[in-house]
Symmetry: D3
Amino acid sequence: MELTHFDEEGRARMVDVSDKAETTRVATARGKVEMQPETLERIRLGQIAKGDVLAVAQVAGIMAAKQTSNVIPMCHPLAITGAKLNFEIVPPGTIEIEGIVKVTGKTGVEMEALTAVSVAALTIYDMCKAIDKTMVIGDIRLMEKTGGKSGHFMREDHIS
Amino acid sequence: MELTHFDEEGRARMVDVSDKAETTRVATARGKVEMQPETLERIRLGQIAKGDVLAVAQVAGIMAAKQTSNVIPMCHPLAITGAKLNFEIVPPGTIEIEGIVKVTGKTGVEMEALTAVSVAALTIYDMCKAIDKTMVIGDIRLMEKTGGKSGHFMREDHIS
Amino acid sequence: MELTHFDEEGRARMVDVSDKAETTRVATARGKVEMQPETLERIRLGQIAKGDVLAVAQVAGIMAAKQTSNVIPMCHPLAITGAKLNFEIVPPGTIEIEGIVKVTGKTGVEMEALTAVSVAALTIYDMCKAIDKTMVIGDIRLMEKTGGKSGHFMREDHIS
Amino acid sequence: MELTHFDEEGRARMVDVSDKAETTRVATARGKVEMQPETLERIRLGQIAKGDVLAVAQVAGIMAAKQTSNVIPMCHPLAITGAKLNFEIVPPGTIEIEGIVKVTGKTGVEMEALTAVSVAALTIYDMCKAIDKTMVIGDIRLMEKTGGKSGHFMREDHIS
Amino acid sequence: MELTHFDEEGRARMVDVSDKAETTRVATARGKVEMQPETLERIRLGQIAKGDVLAVAQVAGIMAAKQTSNVIPMCHPLAITGAKLNFEIVPPGTIEIEGIVKVTGKTGVEMEALTAVSVAALTIYDMCKAIDKTMVIGDIRLMEKTGGKSGHFMREDHIS
Amino acid sequence: MELTHFDEEGRARMVDVSDKAETTRVATARGKVEMQPETLERIRLGQIAKGDVLAVAQVAGIMAAKQTSNVIPMCHPLAITGAKLNFEIVPPGTIEIEGIVKVTGKTGVEMEALTAVSVAALTIYDMCKAIDKTMVIGDIRLMEKTGGKSGHFMREDHIS
């Protein structure tokens, strides 16, 4: 019934996944925040005035996983069934972030895992920016993805 | 277990759809924005200062489809599986908007399609209001609906 | 400091209003929902199963006024200072909706008033769609706007 | 694939419910607002300046049920299939609130029912605070829960 | 310009505060969660599977303060300038919660403080409900309010 | 009036900025997305199935700037007065993203600019992930910040 003369010049749409199977899907993403060594030390010692940095970043990342489809325009809404974030403090000046998201659904949760990691990183920046404005967020990438028709994806440098 | 003496004087509720079947459902809605001919011409030529009007309206409409149950009080939350918006520029002064939304769920997506069209229309208004405050949004209506117990609905004037 | 060679090919931006004066601004918008006479009669008599239609539509519209900048991409966030919606039942089959929004701010509230009216209309549709799918939302337009540099705007057909 | 040396010192996560069965689940919660007798009388008579208090509280509570997973950090997003709120005016100065939420899903809707009741209570406070700042919200508790592996829960004092 | 014949039968509106002065305003609210003594003990020892209960509740409450006007229908949006939550573990089975919110604005932040406390309490419930479904949230009340035309309010039992 | 015996063991709070001056503040952030050369080429040629990648990313980034305080837990809500995003396609495989946000307020907009860039980058990932799962988002950093008591900050490598 769609009007064939309607304008479709390459504009955006949310891809139709109605016919895809509901399967269990898992995605793992990672990223990091690079900072001054003394900033890292103060996070580790719990001396940041705004509070326990990683505890807040963890909550922020998990809540962001749930907001993904409201923030990324063409993402499908998904009722995720699990989400967690892990942090590793790597001296002298790095925090590694890992986000793992699960769903039973018609499409994958890569964006949810990447969004969780990004928002956790931004939260670390926010909590510490009063003492260090030069922090850099980077290496945000998909590590692994299982479930769905496209099968298993594992990043080649995912050797840990 | 519900208290029978509790007040139920016609106040609102989200209707219980727990026992409805999960089926694939599609809804198509349309609407239009009427404007000065020169406003339409400037949209067509990409001369609106705020940016490419229809590209922004399209993103806005798709994102709004996902927000429908947060905006319309008694709407059920639905994990929509597809959404798109088409535009037709109809000289001298009309933009026709069509929104199509799909879901596999227990209730239909009429409201999602109507909300997508309404927000796309409001976005067109917003992008152009600096040059034309007299635009009128109208004819927002459900064209067609498939899936669900109530069966196929097609608006009689849906002849294109 | 902005990179001059950065791509700016007409893409969208939120216009900079930093230098505009904070003034009291008011906007009035209107719209209507056309329906079957018996649908209107059942709204009037409070016989719609989902609840008191206009009471719910009023809350929805006011809440939507506050969500405007989250829904319309290039709208500025504004701390509105007042919002109300009025309804007029016009037999045989029309509900007229009027939305009035106020702010003390750097930019106007036309979009807030138009969004409030649109969402109120969509809510009326939602509450009644089980009995009438042919309702049409229309004539959504700015009636009047005061405050701000562009001065007083009043729609010519605003004669009531 | 998860890094075993990643920090997991008791920080928060959204529990993985991927392997739980989808069943129909219902939760009932209750709470109350205590106020001055004359405040209650003015609510009953519809003399509160901000509007019909219970009608607004009802819409607010139902919309809040849908927002639960955006507000409570470790809650799973759920596409609830029904929600309603009942109020009982209990002179001299109490409004009892009951919220009932349903879902077909992998986890229960206790938090949705409790959130609906809490937000309805906060809305009653907001609508009346101009005349009574001493209102107290209390006794917010889960009354009953059915569905899911943990079986039927009914609060012992749930005898009405 | 408002239509005098428009229906205004006591329906809700967001009260116009355009003419109120911008002053610094502070509100303090309190509430509590009653639980089984062993639940409290496990919170204190950090033995709840979902994570550090009070750390998550604190983030949830602060984020909720910012969402107040999106959740409570007639609340004005306010750019709050500070928010914090304090917890006191009171054996055998109580957690006391205190929320303090500040703003420089045209209206007070009672609702923001009360909402922060309520959502912190709901989050405590959520984090512990796997081991204790009988928790009760109560005594949510405004303790003190400064700033604004209505002057200083202090609850009589606020003697600590 | 705050209870001195209340628990304040380093938990998080939104810092009180009530006494800071309202000044005009601007922040510029940058980041990039690294991808396969053919992915970049298809973006440039408009051959990505989901639509015009940079147009969607731009809308997403601007909308995200407005959502910053809802996503980053301890961020103050701010009524931003302007936001824009620029993109530079840098063969063989990089898209550079620049976000500039303005406000007249009591605290800066670094987080808004960084969030806008991050969400634009995530959107690029989402639009292209069907053809390239190995994209990496990186170098997200604050370039420059003006306004506020802490004065002018410019990143040393900000030499363009």
